[in-house]
């Protein structure tokens, strides 16, 4: 199908650089998420791919062909909007037929394709409904069907789940992901929700201030964040101060910290003696009754949320830790605990600032 290549793409509004020279290569059939806080340029990037926003500089290639000067209606994209943008004066059928009519496809074939796509999004029997007669989730699936029925080169989704309630949002994540796999269409998905980006994508592009902070598989982004900003954006993280004591093989440094001396994965080598910041994910930490282990502390807060328990621990050395455990942990607020962190729970973020 289609390979997308974005090269040094830039968008300026006056003197502001909304998108600042980003380059991404998207493989055929790949599901890519643009993840970042609002104002990071992810939506502007999507609009430039769609053709609704003109690129100030750079190229966007579909299968090697630059489309920067091709108007939106000739780019052959399927787009799903945050508010679905279903045509309110048309029935589901008419909404789905619109793109096919624009492509001058014969009536019988149109009906055929609509029936097939409605089946695919499990909305058979809803043909004659108007959008305002459908629930949010159903409208979402119609929007998806309308984008897919034209068999576009690329599927673009702009925060499509933002208006749904939590339970439906999780269902739709899986639904969209499975559908995308089955159709095998190259997909660009914009979101500010890191969990959404991670569960759905082959690769995640993390953006801050119009630039790409990191591109990688979800596990890469989560376990090996490029910097502090990325680490904090894609999940909760404890920052631990340490000092490099020596090398420990390729891509590993020995670091001394309140948890003792451990071999920590890192992207770059650091000279001995340098102060560094380690990240430690809350779910990598284990709590045990006080007495054993180097790091000792006290539970200052406990938040039970069903699938996990969140603890706040005040270490005797002064640091505060955020810990997540299974709900069967029998440790109460005020208890003294010893804190254990395995070596592979750490990641060396970089030199301390």
């Amino acid at each position: 199908m289609t390979e997308v290549s974005i090269e040094r793409l830039t968008k300026t509004f006056g003197s502001a650089r909304a998108v600042d020279g980003i380059s991404i290569r998207i493989a055929d059939g790949e599901f890519i998420s643009l993840l970042g806080p609002s104002g990071c340029g992810k939506t502007t990037t999507l609009k430039m791919i769609a053709g609704f926003e003109e690129a100030s500089e750079g190229a966007i290639r579909f299968d090697g062909k630059d489309v920067v000067n091709v108007p939106a209606e000739k780019r052959d994209i399927g787009m799903v909007f945050q508010n679905y943008a279903l045509f309110p004066h048309m029935t589901v059928d008419q909404n789905l037929a619109f793109g096919l009519e624009m492509r001058k496809i014969a009536k019988p074939e149109i009906l055929n394709r609509i029936a097939k796509v409605l089946d695919m999004v499990q909305l058979g029997g809803y043909s004659d409904r108007y959008p305002n007669q459908l629930s949010g989730g159903q409208q979402q699936r119609v929007a998806l069907a309308r984008a897919l029925v034209i068999e576009p080169k690329i599927l673009l989704l702009d925060e499509p789940l933002a208006n749904l309630d939590a339970k439906l949002r999780e269902e739709m994540r899986v639904f969209i992901r499975d559908l995308q796999r089955r159709v095998g269409i190259t997909t660009v998905y914009v979101t500010h929700d890191q969990a959404e980006a991670m569960t759905m994508s082959d690769r995640v592009v993390v953006m801050f201030g119009g630039r790409i902070a990191q591109i990688g598989a979800p596990s890469d982004i989560y376990e090996r964040p490029e910097n502090l900003e990325v680490a904090q954006f894609v999940g909760q993280v404890n920052l631990v101060k340490g000092t490099v004591t020596g090398a420990a093989g390729p891509g590993k440094s020995r670091v001394a910290s309140v948890f003792g001396e451990v071999a920590v994965d890192s992207r770059t080598d650091h000279a001995p003696g340098i102060a560094v910041t380690l990240s430690l994910r809350p779910e990598a930490i284990e709590l045990k009754p006080a007495g054993r282990g180097r790091a000792q502390g006290k539970v200052t807060a406990r938040y039970y949320s069903g699938s996990i328990i969140d603890y706040r621990i005040a270490l005797d050395s002064g640091e505060t830790l955020h810990v997540q455990t299974f709900p069967n942990t029998r440790i109460a607020e005020g208890d003294r605990v010893s804190v254990h962190a395995p070596a592979d729970g750490f990641w060396l973020l970089g030199a301390a600032k």
Binding site: A50, G51, F52, P71, A72, E73, K74, D76, I77, G78, M79, F81, Q82, N83, A85, L86, F87, P88, H89, M90, Q94, A97, F98, G99, E101, M102, R103, R146, A147, I150, L156
Partner: protein, 288 residues
Amino acid sequence: MMPARRKGLGSMVLIAPAAVLLGVFLVLPYLNIVVMSFRMPGQGTPYGQGFTIGNYTKFFADSFYLLQVANTLWIGLLTTAICLAVGFPVAWQLARGAMRFRALAYGLVLSPLLVGIVIRSYGWTILLGNAGLINRSLTGMGLLDRPLPLMYNALGIVIALVHVFLPFMILPIMAAIQGVDPSLESAARSLGASRFTAFRRIVLPLCLPGIQAGCILVFVLSLSAYVTPSLIGGLRVKTMAVTVVDALIDTFQWPWGSALALMLSVTGALCVVIFARLTRMKWKAMEP
């Protein structure tokens, strides 16, 4: 939950002031006009004793009055069409244009309403008259030998009415366009529709109610306009509204004036109903 009956009562109380106002100051006077139109003409009095259908037979017997109704409708139609053609692009810019432009344009659109209608109409006589600004300039530049007939005809009335009633076309259309989500156009274009097709298939049908409201407002206002047609049309071109006032005030024939007024109302209402029907059908037809 409030019981349905009490909710109904609540809304009744809310519309009561408007209902009383309309009843006392619109429905009752209208009924009075209807009764008046069947009275005998008076001798030295506004109306005489007894009832007759003579006022109506007089109206239908004389093609002069029928022609005048047709002329009035024609002026209304032309004013409405020009207001729509001129007003739609302005409404579009007001609804979708750059913010900076909007405040200025909004002020310009509303400005005709800030000046009294008599003053505005007199202003047009200064511009349109044979010795007016436009004709003086054109003849002065040697472009014309004789002044263009811009006053004392339907053309002059239409020009002035367009100026006066343009805001009533622009404002409802602007509101309707603002109600159409811009992402619908983007969606249409992503599906392969050109800008024009996206406008025709998506935006236009969705703002048709605003267009309909604007057209009906301007049409009805044009039919009932009095000051502008009487000043610009003078004695030569008279619209129905002018003739009605002549009958009621100048010649003091209340029954005859009432009959004329009712004929104007009925034909105007008929036009509005036909228009509403046609546009609703058109709306339906736009859906594939």
